[in-house]
Amino acid sequence: MPHDHHDHDDGSHLDDMTARVMALEKLLTDKGLVDPAALDRILDTYETQVGPRNGAEVVARAWTDPDFARWLEQDATAAIHSMGFGGRQGEHLTALFNTPERHNMVVCTLCSCYPWSVLGLPPVWYKSMPYRSRAVSEPRAVLAEFGLTLPEGTAIRVWDSTAEMRYLVIPMRPAGTEGWTAEKLVPLVTRDSMIGTGLALVPDTTGPDAEGQAA
């Protein structure tokens, strides 16, 4: 049976961990190793400031600014840092541009390496054994579990993040967005499209607002 390690599935287990972590925080605070206010500040950073919106701004700019896209391709670290998105788990960056011929997808089979500076904290599935074990060996089956089936002629290149290089997938710009500003494109760039387990959203061209949205 495959295990399911979601802590919220088991109340007593969660209580054990709550008690253990509270005790550890108190011990480390009493020892002078931890400043609880610093923990609050770290959490505030990753809960309110650093998240996939950063990556989406990078992608939308690459879609609308050819000079920036070239810079991103040649030196993603400098290009992304220039937008103010630097720091922990984003010290060294490579951008992977999807094309009709090649779809890029990122995993860390050995632990959970992920570009925090542009995508925030990784989701549980990215850190899970099923994704880590299968993304390299059966990426098409994994993508199907995300509801994504690529066209026959599209090759997949999976990047196993085994070093401190962090990878950001630049999804293809959706059709029907010609003339859109970067600001308007940002909401189409999903987190999963920047990991390679999804595509950028296609603007709704069938609804009553379709004309206005596509304008």
């Binding site: 005790a23 550890l24 060294h92 090759a155």
Partner: protein, 218 residues
């Protein structure tokens, strides 16, 4: 190490379960566990590779039975004890038996510390990369018991240099606390079928970041 963390290509873990609108944390303790790990790590008592090795260096059953942040907390406590920052009796009782001499990460320094991160590129000096993009290489069949970032599925396989990433700290030695030893780092491209056999996609590829001591010219 051929440990429980090295699972690329392994079977039996079941399907991936994406969680719509997933919260950042699934329990309040996960928040504190994550922040504590970063805060104590920022005191500079160990390298990122030492913390990775602390997480993976355990019996497979124990590794697979722990949730992600449970593993972090467990490895954090072990590392602190190993480095003499806390004692076994303190961890057992929860009662501090004195203050540490290590300066904690204070709230006013968090932004600067997170913004700085921990770059691992080093000055190569006169060293030149042995390989260039397009070169054929074969990964070595390394089976050491300590930390290594050459996954089992990519050992003793022929590939092509996709990119030269630079001169980066070597995880194998960094996991022993050595912050200086560095080697050239490459993205190496392998045909998926060379790694995973005929069931893999004919045109699919896997790129793995590998250091020069993991590679031979092919």
């Amino acid at each position: 190490m051929n440990g429980p963390q090295d699972i690329g290509g392994r079977h039996g873990f079941g399907p991936v379960r994406p969680e719509p609108d997933e919260p950042l944390f699934h329990a309040p303790w996960e928040r504190r566990a994550m922040a504590m790990t970063i805060a104590v790590g920022a005191t500079g008592q160990w390298t990122i590779d030492e913390s990775r090795f602390a997480r993976e260096n355990r019996a497979p059953g124990a590794y697979y039975d722990m949730s992600y942040y449970q593993l972090w907390v467990t490895a954090l406590a072990e590392l602190m004890q190993h480095k003499g920052l806390v004692s076994a009796s303190e961890l057992e009782s929860g009662q501090a038996e004195g203050k540490t001499s290590v300066a904690p990460l204070t709230a006013d320094r968090v932004d600067a510390v997170l913004a700085r991160g921990g770059p691992v590129d080093r000055d190569p000096g006169a060293s030149q990369p042995a390989f260039a993009p397009g070169d054929s290489v074969r990964s070595r069949n390394l089976q050491g018991p300590s930390h290594i970032r050459l996954p089992g599925y990519a050992r003793d396989k022929q590939g092509v240099i996709e990119a030269v990433h630079g001169y980066h700290v070597f995880p194998d030695t960094s996991a022993q606390g050595d912050r200086d030893t560095a080697h050239w780092l490459y993205a190496v491209r392998f045909p998926a079928r060379a790694l995973f056999g005929p069931s893999a996609g004919e045109t699919d590829e896997v790129c793995v970041d590998l250091w020069e001591p993991y590679l031979d010219r092919a």
